[in-house]
């Protein structure tokens, strides 16, 4: 579903970095030209599925509008693009990803501010910097993920720290109001935003905050972000990792994964929903499919089943629960392994399958339900991702073909 880009902080690494990376690596033709080419290629690979009138089915194959479209009068936006190209952006540097559930804000805090700059720095800019970097929580719902902070980065010639901040999308109006209160618009900054909310809240930004958004395609941003974050590493360590022996609690360990030669890769972006992309190169990818069973489903079902109110709470409950009381396992049906099909007894035969029985419904805890929800959703995503990877078995070859078509 389209909302793959909406991020719930399920994966805390390599996700929230939708920093506007092209500032660091200007494209030969400038951002617009290259994007247009990308769009063309993508449009040919991912055609719109037929969608009936009934409001159902997960939002697969959503086609994005032209990425990087600017709101406001054409002349004004062109000016901004020009200024973007000519010189380094004025501070503050923000990247914003407004998802269906969460807003992810990335803030670059320059640490190499000269005394002269400090003097010139307008009051509102200073106050923003102080406010963001001296707090770890904002209002009742905003959180800075301090543990994710990337220190001593060099970005576009400036040294500084990258901060990761999130808050629920339903607090977006308050955020815009704060922008207005802090007189953000006086800073003449370009506010780059991605995610569905970049469209949804565009008008509010303009009318309330007097801010024009530079809207960016979320999947472009996602891939750029991942590649960028991986290239800078995580404070000296690798951003990408995997679990060895995942099924064995004792032997399971988290190991770094080298992303040096990553292509082709399948990118499964789990936000409120899930988007699955096949990526052939940094600017050549297609959206393969998606599912509406994502982070939002986990959280939403947990709220209904357990009465929890935050995502962290739901995860925490899940970590303590026992899903086997909720789920019907193969052994619950066959007494052991189902040998005919080589299914082990511990495999889940039916998620929530035990809950058709009144006695068993009465015997489970909220934690068990949260756990079962987590297992259901993650197993399903794993299963779909695996099928996509198998079906994309030729995607290396397809990628090569697309490269051929690029040659003039």
């Amino acid at each position: 579903m389209g909302a793959g880009r909406l991020g719930v902080p399920m994966e805390r690494h390599g996700r929230a970095a939708d920093t506007y990376a092209s500032a660091g690596e200007p494209a030969p033709e400038g951002p617009d030209g290259r994007r247009r080419e990308l769009l063309r290629r993508r449009a040919s690979s991912a055609s719109e599925p037929p969608v009936g009138s009934s409001a159902s089915a997960s939002a697969e194959g959503i086609r994005r509008n032209r990425p990087g479209s600017y709101s406001g009068a054409p002349s004004a936006s062109r000016q901004r693009v020009e200024s973007l190209r000519k010189k380094r952006q004025l501070f503050p540097w923000f990247g914003l990803d407004i998802g269906g559930t969460l807003v992810k804000l990335v803030y670059f805090e320059p640490k190499d501010i000269t005394a002269e700059e400090e003097e010139e720095e307008v009051e509102s800019l200073k106050s923003i910097r102080k406010y963001l970097t001296s707090n770890v929580a904002y209002g009742s719902t905003g959180i800075r993920d301090v543990h994710l902070e990337l220190k001593d980065l060099t970005l576009c010639g400036r040294k500084g720290n990258l901060h990761f901040i999130r808050f629920p999308t339903h607090d977006m109006p308050a955020f815009i109001q704060m922008g207005r209160d802090k007189n953000f618009s006086s800073l003449h900054t370009v506010f780059c935003a991605t995610g569905g909310g970049a469209y949804k809240f565009e008008q509010d930004f303009l009318t309330i905050g007097d801010l024009q958004l530079c809207k960016l395609d979320e999947l472009d941003c996602l891939i750029k972000g991942i590649l960028y974050i991986d290239s800078v590493g995580f404070n000296g360590r690798s951003q990408c990792y995997y679990f060895e022996n995942p099924a064995d609690a004792e032997k399971c360990q988290k190991l770094p994964f080298d992303l040096k030669n990553p292509y082709p890769l399948l990118l499964v972006n789990i936000g409120s929903g899930v988007s699955i992309l096949a990526v052939y190169s940094k600017d050549n990818y297609k959206r393969v499919t998606g599912t509406s069973l994502g982070g939002g489903t986990f959280f939403g079902l947990c709220c209904l089943l357990t009465g929890c109110s935050t995502f962290e709470e739901a995860l925490e409950m899940a970590s303590r629960g026992d899903s086997t009381k909720v789920d019907k396992l193969v052994r619950d049906i066959y007494g052991g392994d189902y040998e005919r099909f080589g299914l082990p007894g511990w495999a889940v035969a039916s998620s929530f399958g035990n809950m058709i029985s009144k006695e068993k419904r009465e015997a489970v805890s909220k934690e068990d339900l949260a756990r079962a929800t987590l297992i259901t959703i993650t197993n399903n995503i794993g299963s779909i991702a695996r099928m996509c990877a198998l079906n994309e078995g030729y995607f290396g070859a397809v990628g090569a073909l697309l490269e051929l078509l690029k040659i003039p």
Partner: protein, 773 residues
């Protein structure tokens, strides 16, 4: 996973009255001869299968001892008819709610006469739970069979033996059911069984299948999670809730994420971005209906997506869905179909099976009956003894539900002989016997249903008259009337009940109902009399024909074929005339015929063809007894033989209306041979072969013909097919494309149909076709 939502089950009616009185003699039919049992116990429904034998009365024809008898005497019949008992094999399948299992087992125990049976094959999740009960009640040893193996065996069996078994479900079309033509090769296919969980099985041959994947998000998830969310315990109630709900208040849609911009972005705002995405807000209340709907969408979409991914990976485009999640529930068929269309972009079609609920029981039965090798036979659905699709759906048949609980029956007759495709079909996989799909054509449906209703009195009358010596004929005929009348009423409301509704299925259903009440051949006496009259006329007709010049004779032969065809008790307009004026003669019939040019007239082309080299071998499907076959078909056959063409004359295996049966054709041919040296030598030299079609229908399904006939047609290299009569050449096969020359001729003896075709009563169809090179 495989199993069908068994064990726990807050399922069936804790609240239902278990002492409800069954009409068991209507349900467990032919139990006294039952000898082999299998049972499939799912989470809420039990399916019982047994093999039984049915005693039928059949009318047999036999030549008189010819010695010394003067067959020229006017009032002597040409052969004798005797009614005999015949035993045929039948498979019975009964589906009922688990609530009734004890009552049913008791009934079976009390009525089971046969004591040879020692074992009962059992499958389904509930086989474990009810093992002891079954062993105690029936004193049979329970042999447990693998669930998936049974399911697939059952699936292969119905796909092979029941025409119109599979259908696609289309929400907004009328009717919602689109039945599929059975592909001659049913393999390979993907079976997605949605029980508690989901099993996805790739089936490659009768014995080779592979579990390629599955998902834990299935019917049990809908049920279990639904029960937690809505406090609604029963699966059916959950579905009912879901059908009333609005998922948009619970799901996060694309428009919720993008705001109004989705339109300008070309996005479909109604798509679900995140299932239950809006419920991630504490202290917000959601209605049960809305949550159930959202859950249904989530699960259906997920299964549809996985099914598409598996179908794509294994390059399969036929995907059948089954399991209790699907079973007869329009709401789940709808959401699954939607999902499959969406994710496969129309490349994969979601197919469902009419007898999906019986697959496990059928498979278990077949496992137990392996020594009898049931797969070597062909089987046919008995329309008289089978409940139609959705018979127990409360939405569709509230009254029926009250009458019979949720009992549902399927009966399949073992056919005497195995069936096969006519090898001359141009494309067996796209062959559709029926000319008009009455499920589609509401106007035609209305007409034909009324027509069959109006003809019912006459059929009843004839049935009684055919058994003058029987004391209970009137009573049985009345039962027949009621049974067939009910079938017609069911079909008025559910035209899809037995697959695609056609004139053929209406005729066949009537034949099945007549047989059910021991009226095997109501026309036997009429046919006997007519055959006698016609045989007497034969020499004179031949003399007249032989006196004609070649070109005149060809037209006279064709006219004779057509005139003979006017004699058809099946057509109401004709039976009225025949009833009132039995002297209605052959010559008069000819004068009734439309003058040339006929309604469809390719006679010129046919005549031209006859001037060319003779055909190697003609396959002729005969229609009626009496004047039609004797004065119409045989002279035509004789002419072909004289040209050096071999002839295979194919007649029905069993009786249907006044159609000539194979046995009658043997006697008729023998009598003609005695009068005519051409026929005599041809029979002797096997240049004229009499064969049976394998059918007992007034219509003709070229995809289900007697295997022996199919083999012979191939051996003899038939290069001409002649199909005669309204039932075989108009109601069916009018558009059938063959690989060789074909001649379809009929007289339209129904004014409504004639008008529809642009003609009048007794308009003539003469359709000669040569396949494109």
């Amino acid at each position: 996973m495989a199993e069908c939502g068994a064990s726990g089950s807050g399922s069936s009616g804790d609240s239902l009255d278990k002492s409800i009185t069954l009409p068991p003699d209507e349900i467990f039919r032919n139990l006294e001869n039952a000898k082999r049992f299998a049972i499939d116990i799912g989470g809420s429904l039990t399916k019982l299968a047994y093999y039984s034998t049915v005693q039928h009365k059949v009318a047999r024809v036999r030549s008189f001892e010819s010695s010394g008898r003067d067959t020229e005497q006017d009032h002597e019949p040409p052969y004798e008819i005797s009614v005999q008992e015949e035993v045929t094999a039948r498979l019975h399948f009964v589906k009922f709610e688990n609530t009734y299992i004890e009552a049913c087992l008791d009934f079976i125990k009390d009525h089971l006469v046969n004591t040879e049976t020692k074992v009962i094959q059992a499958t389904g999740g509930g086989a474990y739970k009810f093992k002891d009960l079954i062993e105690e009640k029936l004193r049979l040893k329970v042999d447990k069979e693998d669930v998936m193996t049974c399911l697939i065996k059952g699936c292969n069996f119905v796909l092979r033996n029941i025409p119109h078994e599979a259908f696609a479900y289309q929400k907004d079309s009328d009717p919602e059911f689109r039945f599929q033509t059975n592909h001659p090769d049913i393999f390979p296919y993907l079976l997605v069984n949605i029980g508690s969980g989901v099993s996805i099985v790739k089936v490659e041959t009768e014995d080779r299948f592979e579990w390629v994947g599955g998902s834990s998000i299935g019917g049990g998830t809908f049920w279990g999670l639904g029960a937690l969310l809505t406090k609604t315990k029963k699966f059916d109630e959950l579905l009912h809730l879901a059908s009333k709900g609005q998922h948009t208040s619970v799901d996060m849609l694309v428009q919720d994420v993008y705001g109004g911009a989705h339109q300008t972005l070309g996005l479909s705002g109604d798509l679900i971005a995140s299932s239950f995405g809006k419920s991630a807000a504490a202290d917000k209340e959601f209605s049960k209906e809305d949550m159930a709907k959202s859950l249904l969408h989530m699960i259906s979409n997920d299964i549809g997506q996985l099914a598409c991914l598996y179908a794509k990976l294994h390059c399969l485009d036929r995907v059948y869905f089954g399991g209790f999640f699907i079973r007869g529930h329009p709401v789940t068929m709808r959401t699954i179909t939607y999902s499959i269309n969406f994710f496969s972009k129309g490349e994969v079609q979601a197919l469902f099976l009419r007898h999906e609920g019986y697959l496990g029981a059928i498979g278990a039965f077949l496992k137990g009956a392996e020594q009898d090798n049931p797969n070597q036979y062909s089987w046919g659905e008995n329309y008289a003894g089978s409940s139609g699709l959705m018979s127990s759906s409360p939405e569709l048949c509230p009254t029926q539900r009250v009458r019979s609980g949720t009992f549902d029956l399927l009966e399949m007759d073992r056919l005497e002989r195995p069936l096969a495709n006519l090898p001359l079909l141009l494309d067996p996989s796209s062959y559709v016997p029926d000319t008009v799909d009455l499920t589609d054509d509401a106007l035609a449906r209305k007409y034909w249903l009324t027509c069959f209703e109006e003809a019912l009195d006459g059929v009843v009358k004839r049935a009684v008259a055919s058994q003058p010596g029987s004391v209970d004929a009137a009573e049985r005929a009345e039962k027949f009337r009621q049974k067939y009348w009910r079938k017609l009423q069911t079909l008025r409301h559910q035209p899809f009940a037995y697959g695609t509704l056609t004139v053929r299925s209406l005729l066949d259903t009537r034949e099945h109902c007549l047989n059910e009440f021991n009226f095997p051949d109501p026309y036997s006496k009429v046919k006997q009399k007519e055959n006698g009259v016609a045989l007497k006329c034969f020499p004179r007709v031949i003399r007249c024909l032989d006196a004609l010049g070649w070109e005149e004779r060809q037209l006279a032969l064709v006219k004779g074929l057509l005139a003979g065809n006017v004699f058809d008790w099946g057509a109401k307009a004709v039976s009225d005339v025949l009833e009132s004026d039995p002297q209605f003669g052959f010559e008069e019939a000819k004068s009734k015929l439309q003058e040339r040019p006929w309604l469809v007239d390719s006679y010129g082309k046919w005549l031209q063809r006859l001037k060319g080299p003779p055909h190697k071998c003609a396959l002729i499907f005969a229609d009626n007894s009496g004047i039609d076959v004797i004065l119409g078909v045989f002279p035509f056959v004789r002419e072909l033989l004289s040209r050096g063409t071999e002839v295979i004359l194919a007649c029905n295996s069993g009786p249907a209306l006044n159609d000539v049966t194979y046995c009658e054709s043997l006697i008729v041919a023998e009598r003609i041979a005695a009068m005519d040296p051409v026929v005599h030598s041809a029979l002797k030299e096997e240049r004229l072969l009499l064969m049976q079609t394998g059918s007992s229908s007034p219509c003709l399904d070229l995809s289900r013909l007697d295997k022996g006939l199919a083999v012979l047609v191939r051996e003899r290299g038939a290069d001409l097919v002649v199909i005669e009569g309204m039932g075989r050449a108009v109601h069916t096969n009018y558009y059938a494309a063959l690989r060789c020359e074909s001649l379809k001729l009929a007289v339209i003896k129904n004014s409504w149909l004639a008008e529809r075709l642009g003609g009048r009563l007794f308009s003539v169809i003469f359709k000669y076709e040569v396949p494109a090179e």
